[in-house]
Amino acid sequence: MSNRKGPPGSQPFMKRPDNTAFKQQKLPAWTPTLKAETVLPFFFLSGVACITIGVLLIITAAGVQEMKVDYTEERDCADCYSLRLDRAKSTSDCACTVSFSLSEAFKGDVFMYYGLTNFYQNQRHYMVSRDDAQLVGRQYNLKNPSITCVPFDKYKNGTPIAPCGAIANSIFNDTLQLFYHSDKNTETPVPLLKTDITWFTDRTVKFQNPSPKDNLTAAFSGTARPFYWRKPVYQLSVEENNNGFVNEDLIVWMRQAAFPSFKKLYGRLNRTQEFNDGLPAGNYSVKISYNYPVGKFKGRKSVILSTVSWLGGQNNFLGIAYSTSGAITLVVAIILTVVHLKFRKKPLGLEEE
């Protein structure tokens, strides 16, 4: 009977699977087993660590100073506000001044922002209403704006708009001038730098003037300014190198904000003379050339001054988040410890491995 099986050597062993750890699902592995002894210290440690980080963050954020002035309908700006409600008078100038005081000096780098609320820069059709190819200065696209720019691509007579699209068209065009009043009569203009307020990649890669770069008037000939603009794109700034598509105000505006309430960098403090250490405490005023209409969509406009820390601006959120979750972790850890100590003898039987 045994001969029916055949001698073992005669069997084909080709089919035998390889006895490798992978194929046998026996790869060496780290199998973390969570036990009270290992989990609880981890909980305590992470709880303490979180609280520490949280406190640190709160302290850091507290060191950041910020001043926000809403000038939408502030004092004489209220007139300008109502003037801007009338579209027919959109080209008439209107200027106003708001003043505020800093009780403490703003030490270090100070940045100035303009803030807008209720402005949906993230509206989908608004978002796409730009031509990136045009903005890097390609000749063809300069004269033939993308279809995404419609209806802000061309004038009725066919002259292409540069830069085209709804975003560029609706650029924030209030001008803000900050003055420092060291006493009642002196009015020192605070020097602001309007350069280096954009992302490096933006101003060197994503935005480029068309050639010839040294003669922007020629470069932009054959195109026209956007409907709402007063000046063509090559006269946006008095500074020589801050014109055309690489104008930093334009670049800042073209980076669409994520939310309807946003603030954008307007300039940074030029730390010279008396502003060497930042902004001293005292009275300030902002002279505004009030052009931008926000009344129709119930928006607000403001000017913001702020310093920065290593973490960024004034933001307690992270600190609070860290401390809260750290506290919760600690509480849970304590509860678990109590439970564990009280009932320890029973689950001991479980550890059979």
């Binding site: 009977m1 069997q11 084909p12 062993f13 089919k15 035998r16 699977p17 194929k23 046998q24 699902q25 790869l27 592995a29 780290w30 199998t31 973390p32 909980f43 910020e66 579209r87 402005f119 993230n122 509206q123 989908r124 059709h125 209403s129 209806p151 068209n169 954009t198 992302w199 490096f200 990649t201 980076r255 904000a257 994520a258 309807p260 309430s261 603030k263 960098l265 129709k296 969509f297 119930k298 913001i304 920065v308 290593w310 973490l311 960024g312 601006g313 004034q314 933001n315 959120f317 992270l318 988040a321 860290y322 979750s325 972790t329 849970v332 509860i335 439970v339 029973k346 689950p347 491995e353």
Partner: protein, 1122 residues
């Protein structure tokens, strides 16, 4: 009226046609019969072209696309893609088109390649040359040009080009050897027989002279069934009719062996060959996981639609203020203003759908399929399931059911060959009450020649001696065993050894017969060979006795017996009959029935397989009438089986009882251990067998299906004869329910072992009366009561089962109201029906051929491998796929819900939060590999523990990891995480001047973050959290896990840097918020730890049982480690 008339007309017409197609007439060599024969009905047959390929060059693209888009997921994404193409949607068509295109292309390339291979194989087959006989000459032809009626010449080692009727062979005796390895995997040589009247035609010319017609049935897919008739016309006489059976039919795909050449006639060609008919795939089985997956998909579809509806409504509410709808900075184009309102609403709705469509992950299907396909390799690779004796490991025929292996509630197993070895050993025989036990085997060598007899009873007298020798001769003659000489090629020359010491091997489809013949050898009577229709026996005096084999009344499972009619050298006719006791005793008229019966019953209780042997002598005229009866039956084309059975019934009567035999079928290695493990794992094991009750029950005790304290309930014909079925059923249910009612509380915890459990024994006859619908319509009741009894029995034994009844039982359990998951395991052809019926069918690569293994979903070499298959592989696959499914939904909720929230901040303008590249690649590359890898190699519990502690299997029973509760938990976890991501980033952004670290940058600047930056921030946190969540769930950290998890995070970072030009400090900052998010997310983890811990503790204080402690281990493992 008209209708019924029409119907009857149609019926008549159809019936007529059926008759017509029922059989086919073939003229050998296209030679028309002499006039006067049947009316010639021209029939058209297909050519011999085999087309297994699905596509042609021209229709590949449209047909394949059609096939692929019939899948609901693909169709869904196609619709999304088309919507994106047609209307103005937030994301470009590329974002959904690219993944879809990728999936479709990969599938198409794979299918195209497979089809190309099939084309190649088809062409090779169709163009391979065959030799056919035309006008007495051998002509070469392409295989595809073969026609029905051609005579072909097949040489050794050639494959048969189509189904053939075997006419003649180069071997003298008109036989040939064939292997059907490519058909059914059996590599043994099988003998086929040429038609008696044509086997003398040996040359081409002679064969070409054959003038005959063949009538046979139309092609059927059953490989082992064939009925036909050949009419041979000689001169002007009446044609001679001969029966044709499957022993004359050579199947396409089989290979000729050990035979120089054969002649045969083509009867079935091309797609009508049995091989081609067997191509048809079985109906697809779907796993429980897949069903819940589809349910979840519907839930998500509802979520998707409601999200889109909410946003659409909100959009129009918000837009009712014209200054919001169209502020000065954002003018609409004229065409937008003029658009129809309804059209606008629909467009918006569709746009939202497109925006959120990623919540239903296209990649999930791909990943699940890849997981199943790749994962099944671990089964085939498993060294523990490799059987070195057989030289084979486990086989996976369908990878769709991997996870179902972890869900089994009922196991239906065959007995013979599954629980037992099917390796029979002759134990004893009993002649007229005297018992003979052959000598023990010495080192596997059988000591022939010496009379290994040991008379336990008294020695028989002279008359007894005669009886005894007749009994031995009967066993030597009454079988279908073939003798295979060791060197079969020249075995014919060497065959004449002086005695049976030659190393000849007995081969038979039934191992019992081999055991009997070998047992006889040890008792002194050696069956030598069948030569020229003479059976040769070497008797105790080393003399060769020759018996002419006249007729074989072959075995079938209905009659449960077989007979041979032989003519001794002295010219006497004997009929020897052997079979099951129940089928022999009623037919016996003389003999010591009571003694034999007592012995048979004694042996049956021991678990031995018993057979009874009887004989009768036939006079010459009796024999001739018998012969005639059989031949008429054999020649019948219709109902041949029935007619044969009737004829046999008449012949096998008035027998003289000789004695009985006992053969042991040993239990398979570790069968008892396996059964015990399965029961501990909460599975109910049912044994379905054709054996008689006593034998089967003994086996059940041996393999610990029944324990000593098992209370056996019998539901057998014996009992139903005494009481009505109704009463018996009610009695039993009362017994069972009374006990169980008081114990439900204990059994609920699944821990009580001391409870006396019940075992039910039911036989086939009773079962059919339980299932049979009765006139009162109370059949449903019977069935219900029966099911109720079964539910409360830990083990059920069904004996005397017909193959179809096995399937019926499986179906009954499968469709009972709990819809349990069933598994059927078996090794023989009789198990195929239940293997196909059960949710999971497992075939054992047994001795009874490969049919079960071929039809199964998984095939394993031995029963013991079932343990690892279910407890380890099944458990792992289930855990893996359920995590895969849940995690996929989770990560897509995390992914899409922030987009939904963002709509509230962007004026419901369908602005996507993420960059198009991120939208596209999130599921394809950033988060796909870790989960795929997890679902391939995760092991939450060590393999050995799973094997040692089968009760862990209960934890995953009833699809427990895909219950609604857990699904909802995952979904809410996803929502929670999404809210954390979004508002975490929002507060970071909106409230403050979030600026960069001046010191770290070259220029002391602080930039504004745009919306893409915001999206990137959310997305980064998302990718990290989702990946780390998986890392937290991973219990089995191999180097591959480390590589993939950290690697995919690194890939994301590198990609982001390259893609967005996002300066790296942005990523640094995201780390900060990431930590915050993780802390908050870990809050939920803590809550889980807390709640499950307390649940355990409350359990502990409730009861101190050790069992509970073990249960809680599992509980801890399953939940806490999560």
């Amino acid at each position: 009226m008209d209708c019924s008339l029409l119907r009857s007309l149609i019926n008549r017409y159809c019936a007529g046609e059926e008759n017509w197609v029922d059989s086919r007439t073939i003229y050998i060599g296209h030679r028309e019969p002499p006039s006067g024969a049947d009316v010639y009905i021209p029939q058209r047959y297909p050519d011999n072209r085999i087309v297994s390929s699905k596509y042609t060059f021209w229709n590949f693209v449209p047909k394949n696309m059609f096939e692929q888009f019939r899948r609901i997921a693909n169709f869904y994404f196609l619709i999304i893609f088309l919507v994106q193409l047609i209307i103005d949607t937030p994301t470009s068509p590329v974002t959904s088109g690219l993944p879809l295109f990728f999936v479709i292309t990969v599938t198409a390339v794979k299918q195209g390649y497979e089809d190309w291979l099939r084309h190649k194989a088809d062409n090779a087959l169709n163009q391979c040359p065959v030799h056919i006989i035309q006008h007495g000459k051998v002509v070469r032809k392409q295989s595809r040009k073969l026609q029905v009626g051609d005579i072909v010449l097949v040489k050794e080692d050639e494959t048969f080009p189509c189904d053939l009727i075997f006419l003649s062979s180069s071997r003298e005796d008109g036989t040939c050897f064939v292997t059907t390895a490519s058909l059914d995997g059996e590599s043994s040589h099988k003998t086929y027989y040429a038609v008696q009247d044509t086997k003398a035609f040996h040359t081409e010319q002679e064969v070409d002279m054959i003038n005959a017609t063949i009538e046979c049935e139309q092609p059927q897919s059953d490989l082992y069934k064939f009925v036909g008739r050949i009419n041979i016309h000689q001169d002007r006489d009446e044609p001679i009719a001969r029966p044709l059976g499957s022993e004359n039919l050579l199947l396409r795909g089989a290979t000729l062996k050990n035979t120089e050449h054969i002649f045969a006639v083509v009867i079935y060609t091309g797609m009508e060959t049995k091989m081609a008919l067997n191509y048809q795939s079985k109906s697809q089985k779907r796993s429980a996981v897949e069903k819940s997956m589809n349910t979840y998909l519907i839930v998500y579809l509802c979520i998707l639609i409601s999200k889109a509806v909410i946003n659409t409504v909100m959009k129009y509410v918000w837009q009712s203020d014209p200054n919001r709808d169209e502020p000065f900075y954002n003018h609409k184009t004229d065409s937008e203003r003029q658009r129809n309102m309804i059209l606008k609403v629909i467009t918006d709705f569709l746009a939202f759908m497109v925006l959120f469509n990623y919540i239903i992950p296209v990649s999930m299907y791909v990943t699940v399929e890849m997981q199943k396909f790749l994962g099944s390799y671990f089964i085939t690779w498993d060294d523990d399931m490799f059987d070195s004796e057989l030289g084979e490991g486990a086989l996976v025929n369908t990878s769709d059911l991997n996870e179902e292996l972890g869900q089994i509630e009922y196991v239906f197993t065959d007995k013979t060959g599954t629980l037992t070895e099917n390796n029979m050993e002759f134990i004893e025989c009993c002649v007229d009450g005297h018992i003979y036990v052959p000598d023990a085997i010495c080192n596997g060598q059988i000591l022939t020649g010496t009379v290994g007899m040991d008379m336990i009873d008294c020695s028989p007298g002279a008359g007894g001696k005669e009886q005894e020798e007749l009994f031995f001769r009967a066993l030597c003659l009454c079988h279908t065993v073939q003798v295979k000489e060791e060197e079969s090629v020249d075995g014919i020359k060497k065959g004449l050894h002086p005695c049976g010491k030659s190393s000849s091997v007995y081969i038979s489809s039934s191992p019992d017969e081999v055991a009997l013949v070998e047992g006889m050898k040890r008792l002194g009577f050696t069956y030598l060979r069948l030569k020229d229709n003479h059976m040769e026996i070497l008797n105790r005096d080393d003399d060769i006795e020759r018996f002419e084999l006249m007729e074989v009344l072959s075995f079938d499972s209905v009659r449960r017996r077989m007979s041979v009619i032989v003519k001794s050298s002295t010219g006497e006719y004997y009929l020897f009959c052997k079979g099951a006791d129940s089928s022999i005793f009623p037919r016996v008229i003389i003999g010591k029935v009571d003694q034999v019966r007592a012995r048979v019953e004694h042996n049956a209780v021991e678990g031995l397989r018993t057979l009874c042997v009887a004989y009768k002598t036939l006079a010459q005229d009796e024999y001739e009438s018998v012969c005639k009866q059989i031949n008429t039956a054999k020649l019948a084309l219709q109902d041949r089986d029935k007619k044969l059975a009737e004829a046999f019934d008449v012949i096998e009567r008035d027998l003289i009882l000789l004695g009985a035999t006992a053969v042991e079928d040993r239990l398979q290695d570790k069968a008892a251990d396996t059964i015990e493990s399965l029961q501990k794992a909460g599975m109910k094991v049912w044994v379905l067998t054709g054996d008689k009750m006593e034998t089967a029950a003994a086996t059940c005790y041996a393999c610990r299906l029944f324990h000593r304290n098992t209370q056996i309930l019998e539901l057998t014909t014996k009992r139903t004869e005494e009481q009505s079925l109704h009463d018996v059923l009610f009695d039993l249910s009362k017994t069972v329910l009374r006990h169980c009612g008081s114990l439900t509380r204990d059994t609920l915890s699944g821990l009580s072992h001391d409870v006396p459990d019940y075992g039910l024994i039911i036989d086939g006859a009773t079962l059919s009366s339980v299932m049979k619908p009765t006139e009162e319509g109370s059949s449903g009741n019977y069935k219900e009561i029966f099911l109720e009894i079964c539910r409360n029995c830990s083990a059920v034994l069904c004996c005397r089962m017909a193959p179809l009844q096995k399937a019926q039982i499986v179906k009954m359990i499968k469709t009972s109201k709990e819809h349990p998951i069933t598994l059927a395991i078996g090794d023989g052809a009789n198990d195929v029906s239940m293997i196909l019926e059960a949710h999971v069918g497992i075939g054992i690569m047994g001795k009874e051929g490969r049919q079960a293994a071929r039809n199964s979903d998984y095939a394993i070499p031995k029963f013991k491998h079932l343990k690892k298959m279910l407890l380890v592989h099944g458990h792992y696959y289930y855990i893996r796929i359920s995590e895969l499914v849940q995690y996929f939904f989770y990560k897509n909720v995390c992914f899409i819900f922030p987009q939904f929230l963002y709509q509230f901040f962007c004026g419901f303008s369908q602005q996507p939060l993420y960059d198009a590249a991120y939208l596209t690649l999130y599921n394809i590359s950033f988060t796909s590999l870790p989960i795929l890898l997890y679902s391939l190699i995760e092991q939450h519990v060590n393999m050995d523990i799973l094997k040692r502690d089968p009760s862990l299997y209960r934890d995953i029973a009833k699809n427990s990891l895909l219950r609604w509760r857990i699904f909802i938990y995952w979904t809410f976890l996803g929502l929670f995480d999404a809210v954390v991501f979004f508002f975490g980033a929002y507060f970071l952004f909106d409230n403050t001047t979030f600026t960069s670290n001046g010191q770290l940058m070259t220029a002391n600047t602080n930039m504004m973050f745009g919306n893409w930056t915001f999206g990137t921030l959310v997305f980064t946190v998302l990718v990290f959290t989702v990946t780390l969540k998986l890392a937290l769930d991973t219990q089995y950290w191999t180097w591959i896990n480390h590589f993939v998890i950290w690697g995919s995070l690194l890939f994301y970072v590198v990609f982001s840097l390259l893609w967005g030009g996002i300066i790296w400090y942005v990523t640094f900052l995201t780390w900060v918020i990431l930590l915050a998010a993780l802390m908050t997310a870990s809050g939920s983890f803590i809550m889980w730890f807390c709640s499950s811990y307390q649940a355990i503790l409350s359990l502990c204080s409730f009861s101190q049982k050790e069992e509970i402690v073990r249960q809680t281990t599992a509980f801890i493992k399953c939940y806490i480690l999560k």
